[in-house]
């Protein structure tokens, strides 16, 4: 029931819609996940997803909101790394939703 079908491939999701196997991620999978959230990914979204994937590659964990803002500001500048911008892009829950679309595990310490 919680599977995602991308190019005839069935991809397992957990009960919150996060990838069960992070290796399943691809840009196409991200687009399909976004569609489930009624979201169309633009370049503004993609640069954040890229930043998130870098964060995960570096620190091996998914950031809560505050570190996401800080890291984004560090990488893309304060006009991108701020809470209104990220909230607007990701329906008000950037840490959770962006992590989901970027193929990261559910953020720890994110309440």
């Amino acid at each position: 029931m919680n599977d995602l079908t991308v190019d005839d491939r069935s991809i397992a999701l957990d009960k919150d819609g996060f990838l069960v196997d992070l290796n399943d991620w691809s840009p196409e999978v991200a687009e399909a996940l976004a569609q489930r959230e009624q979201l169309l990914l633009t370049s503004d979204h993609w640069e954040i997803l890229d930043v998130l994937r870098d964060f995960y590659a570096q620190y091996q964990l998914a950031p809560a909101t505050r570190p996401l803002i800080k890291y984004t500001a560090l990488r893309l500048g304060p006009e991108k790394g701020n809470s209104p911008h990220l909230n607007r892009l990701f329906n008000g829950t950037p840490a959770k939703l962006a992590a989901k679309l970027a193929g990261l595990p559910k953020p720890t310490n994110c309440i």
């Binding site: 620190y59 964990l61 950031p63 809560a64 505050r66 570190p67 890291y71 310490n109």
Partner: protein
């Protein structure tokens, strides 16, 4: 003003959940903007060692996680100089920058924080 908390982590990353729990407290507190410090003491200094390969034991990379602390607003990272030296470690062996403190500086550090927890 929130009360400041010093977390003293003194177990090696392989010794049960202690090191992971200390990090979780720091990450959760940092996400809520609490004034936190973290001190690595005794075998806890092994958590900071660079080039560990926890994947060999199918464990998560704690040293990589620890490097995220400044992103979570936890910038006050300290390491006991005595514990380092006793284990043949030097600052250049560490995966993240932590300030080495001698005994008098450690006593002053503990006195400075409102709360202290040792894991």
């Amino acid at each position: 003003m929130a009360r400041s908390l010093l977390i003293i982590s003194r177990q090696a990353p392989w010794k049960g959940p202690s090191a992971r729990e200390a990090l979780d407290i720091a990450l959760a507190g940092g996400a809520f903007d609490l004034p936190l410090g973290m001190l690595f003491l005794d075998d806890g200094v092994f958590q900071l060692q660079a080039e560990q390969q926890p994947a060999v034991l199918e464990q998560k990379n704690l040293a990589a996680n620890l490097q995220a602390l400044p992103m979570f607003g936890v910038d006050e990272l300290f390491v006991c100089a005595h514990s380092l030296a006793a284990r043949g470690l030097d600052l250049c062996h560490l995966a993240l920058p932590a300030e080495p403190l001698d005994a008098p500086a450690l006593r002053a550090l503990i006195a400075r924080f409102d709360e202290v927890i040792t894991l």
